[in-house]
Each structure stands twice: as structure tokens, then as C-alpha cells.
């Protein structure tokens, strides 16, 4: 049933008796053209675009838990395309364009809210770096505005301007950036993919990859073997573990990053805000909770939890930036496992195994990439050749030196 205000009203009168499951729960078939491992946003989007853009619908998405149980369901919901380096800018801008039409595309309200993403700067050098980035964005056709101190102050009068350790000098604003409802993105893609005939198979952990003569022929799962002509990996923090099943080592470390939400309050901040002199960013959800986060915990981890020093570091940044936050309360904090690549940028590429494709290295920014990641990965899998939008996200770029290092931190993942 198509979702609309009309059907909602109609169903309200009928006691909502007719709503069908948003996606089926099929048994896995013996064979698919393509198996996507990972039922997060990226995997589901890949499946959706395989069907929509490439006419491939004999596709399964296999997920070890419930769809969206990884980082798709535990991020801070930010979408933006305010990148410096051309490879990233163009890719994330394509993602932004897909976000802007996603609700009508999926017939699902994923609540894309373009309320603006503002990065604050606290020194002349930082402002110049923002100018460099903003100009790069503009050259790539992305909106960017450099705000001075008074413009920031007019926009967000409640921040600490007069007693700050690191005074606010200005900021880089991308008005088209904002947030989207993370769970809805998963469900929207799942429902839309399902409607195009794709099998979404939950509680189906992949336990092995079937490889013969350098070519993949299927996956072993907790629910039995599944044959596949092509297999795409979109498993975020578990990328190294899956790759190891194919005998591959990746330029990736799995790290934990924490996120936080406060109790709901009436609207207080109407944009996504990042502190440039500490590790803190914040936005307010439609339900009223302030959603915030900061830096990684900084060590390899597969445990979905963080530790206190990072909690303190993040909250200190928050209260330093915005002293009025002191009396609001954290309701919940949690950790996600992210696939930190060695240069901070993603990988969407073929692997040395024929028919095995890799979508990984999203660091802490995978959510905003969801549509373009799925779109590009679908293109790569369907055509077996990269689309120009992600051609730079190669697996061999490290050995060749074509790193895409936005922060200039080099090969130390926890610093990106």
C-alpha cells in the first residue's frame, strides 16, 4: 500500500487493519545473482539501486541481526557534503542530491531536514582552512557560506562568546546539510527494495565466503549456504573480519565511537553545530532530544560501548561551547563500531577475488553517505566497473599514494 496522508486517514477510519509488513521475511533461496552482506543502510540501499537502476532483483541482503542494527541505527543522523577534497566532495554531494529526493523515491518519510550544518572556527588559521574547504565546495557546486563572528552570534546567541577558552571567530555553514531520521532510512530502503522483489534475510550471519580459483561463488550462512554470482560486502566495522574470510587484509581498523542523547526539550537549536576547538557536535531531533557526539574513543574495539574519558571529553566540549547545556541531562549514550580507514576516506572497489566487492572505510561518516554509497556500489556490482563518482575510493590507493586525507593525519586511523 502506498503511504500517503490519504491512506493514513482512510486506515484511521478502518482501525489500521490493512497495513502490511514493510518488508517480507522470506526464507533464503539457494541462489541469487547478487548477495549483499550487511543489512544496514548501505547494504539495503545497494540492493534497492541494483533493482531500480540496473534491473537486478534476484538479490538477497543477508543480515546477521535485525536490519539497521549496526551503525545505521546508532549514529547522530547528520547529512552533509561539506568536504575539502574533490573525490569526497563530489561523492557526498551526489549523496546529498539523493537525500533531497529520497522521500518521493522511496515513498517513505525519512525526515530529511535541511536545517544547516555549521562548523565553528576559533582561529585565523582555522578560518582560512574553512575558507579553503568552502571554496572547494563551491567549485564543486556545493553550497557553502563562511560566517564571521557576528553572523554566528546572531544565529546562535546562546553560545559562549565572551568567556570562552577558544573564542568563536566564525564558521562554515552548509545550509543544505542537516539531519535525517536514521531508522527510517533503513526501513524506507528495506521497504522499497522489498517491493522490487529483493529478499531481506535477517538473523542470517555469514560464516564464510565460498571462493574457488580466485572467484567467489557464494556465502556460507547460519541458515545454510547461498550461491551467488556476485557478493558485495557492506558490513562497516566488521569489514576486516569478512575480508579475512577471503584471505584479505584491509587498510582498516575497527574503532568505537560514542553518541549521546538528552531528554526531550522544546526547540533550542535549529542547526547541526560543531565545535572547532574540541570534540563536540550537536543537533536536536524532532522529538526534542539533543543528539551529540565527538571524537572516537581511540582504540581498536568491537565492543559496542565506550569509556568515560571520551564521555568527559565530549561533554566538556559541549558545555564549554554552550554553557546553558549544563542543566540538561544525558538520557543515554552508546557506542558504534566504525570502519576507520587509513586515510579517513571510504573504499568502494573490486577486490582481488573476482565477483567480491567491498564497500567499507566509512569512518564516522557513513550515515550521510548511505544513498550515494548504495548507488555507487550497485553500479560497481552491476557493471563490474567503478562509476566516476567513486573511482577514487580504490583499494590500491594506499600503496600508490593516492590517499584522500581530509585531515592530513596520515596512516593513523584514530586521528581521522
Amino acid at each position: 500500500m502506498k503511504y500517503s496522508a490519504f491512506t493514513l486517514a482512510y486506515e484511521a477510519l478502518r482501525g489500521h487493519a490493512d497495513w502490511k509488513p514493510a518488508w517480507r521475511e522470506p526464507e533464503p533461496k539457494a541462489e541469487y545473482d547478487v548477495v549483499i552482506v550487511g543489512g544496514g543502510g548501505h547494504g539495503l540501499a545497494t540492493a534497492y539501486y541494483l533493482a531500480k537502476e540496473h534491473g537486478l532483483s534476484n538479490v538477497a541482503v543477508v543480515e546477521k541481526g535485525w536490519i539497521g542494527s549496526g551503525n545505521a541505527g546508532r549514529n547522530t543522523t547528520i547529512i552533509r557534503s561539506n568536504y575539502l577534497l574533490p573525490a569526497n566532495t563530489q561523492f557526498y554531494e551526489w549523496s546529498m542530491k539523493l537525500w533531497e529526493g529520497l522521500e518521493r523515491d522511496l515513498n517513505y518519510n525519512v525526515m530529511v531536514s535541511q536545517r544547516g550544518v555549521l562548523n565553528l572556527c576559533h582561529s585565523d588559521a582555522q578560518r582560512d582552512a574553512f575558507a579553503r574547504r568552502g571554496n572547494a565546495m563551491r567549485l564543486n557546486g556545493v553550497d557553502a557560506q563562511l560566517l564571521d563572528h557576528s553572523e554566528v552570534r546572531a544565529m546562535l546567541p546562546f553560545l559562549d562568546y565572551d568567556n570562552a577558552r577558544f573564542p568563536i571567530r566564525g564558521g562554515l555553514l552548509q545550509r543544505r546539510g542537516g539531519t535525517a531520521r536514521h531508522d527510517a532510512v533503513v526501513w524506507g530502503y528495506a521497504r522499497a527494495a522489498d517491493r522490487r522483489g529483493i529478499d531481506i534475510i535477517q538473523n542470517c550471519e555469514v560464516t564464510g565466503l565460498t571462493i574457488r580459483n580466485g572467484r567467489i561463488s557464494g556465502v556460507e550462512t547460519a541458515r545454510g549456504p547461498i550461491r551467488a554470482g556476485k557478493v558485495g560486502l557492506a558490513v562497516a566495522g566488521n569489514s576486516s573480519r569478512l575480508a579475512a574470510m577471503a584471505g584479505l587484509r584491509l587498510p582498516i581498523e575497527s574503532h568505537v565511537i560514542q553518541a549521546f542523547v538528552t531528554e526531550g526539550v522544546k526547540p533550542v537549536v535549529d542547526c547541526v553545530l560543531t565545535f572547532g576547538a574540541g570534540h563536540f557536535y550537536i543537533s536536536q531531533s524532532d522529538k526534542g532530544g539533543l543528539v551529540f557526539g565527538g571524537d572516537l574513543d581511540g582504540y581498536n574495539s568491537y565492543a559496542q560501548r565506550g569509556n568515560l574519558p571520551t564521555v568527559e571529553d565530549i561533554v566538556e566540549g559541549g558545555v564549554a561551547l554552550w554553557p546553558g547545556l549544563g542543566r540538561l541531562r544525558v538520557l543515554r549514550h552508546w557506542g558504534g563500531i566504525i570502519d576507520m580507514s587509513m586515510d579517513g576516506s571510504p573504499i568502494i572497489d573490486r577486490t582481488p577475488i573476482d565477483g567480491l566487492y567491498l564497500n567499507a572505510g566509512w569512518c564516522y561518516g557513513g550515515f550521510k553517505a548511505t544513498p550515494a554509497s548504495g548507488w555507487c556500489f550497485a553500479h560497481l556490482i552491476a557493471r563490474d566497473e567503478p562509476h566516476p563518482l567513486h573511482a577514487a575510493f580504490r583499494l590500491d590507493r594506499f600503496a600508490a599514494g593516492m590517499v584522500i586525507d581530509e585531515k592530513g593525519q596520515g596512516a593513523q586511523p584514530n586521528l581521522h
Binding site: 576486516s240 582504540y299 586511523p413
Partner: protein
Amino acid sequence: MRIICPYCGERGNEEFSYLGDASLLRPDPAGAGAMHAFADYVYLRDNPRGSHREFWYHAAGCRSWLIVTRNTSTHDITRVEFACDVAAARMASFEDEG
């Protein structure tokens, strides 16, 4: 997390900085295929879920580089060694072999 520094005793992880996989050995820069070996050394990681030997630097303490054996799934720490001791032992074993 709490790391038992062999010099300073048990401390919170905020006193340390992290460098990652300690099983990597800097390749011989004069060796054949050094470029390839260095690319692997600098960029590729096992990234295991489970036991992981990793470098931590006690930046706010004794400034020792440590090798910590820690389970990345449970965060349990089973061993902490001075990195220089491990390096010395490795060098000694090379010399023994000859």
C-alpha cells in the same frame, strides 16, 4: 579502561595515547621489494576481533611505549610489556639465529 603500566601501576586509558597494531615490524628499507613491504606495514592491518597486541604510550606517565595484549571484543587486558623489552628480545633472538 584501566591499563597496568609496568612502571607506574594501574592507570586510566586517558593517560595513554594509542598507536595500534604492535605486531607490525618496520621492514628493511634496503630489502628487495621495500616499497611493497612498507605499503603493507604502513597501511594494512589484521584488525582482529579478539586478542590484539597494540602499542600504547604512557604520555602522561613514565613515557614508556607499551605493548598491551587486549581483547578487542571484551576489552580484557591480559598482558602489558615494555615495547623496548620486546624489541630487545626480538633482536636477541635474531642474533641467536645468527
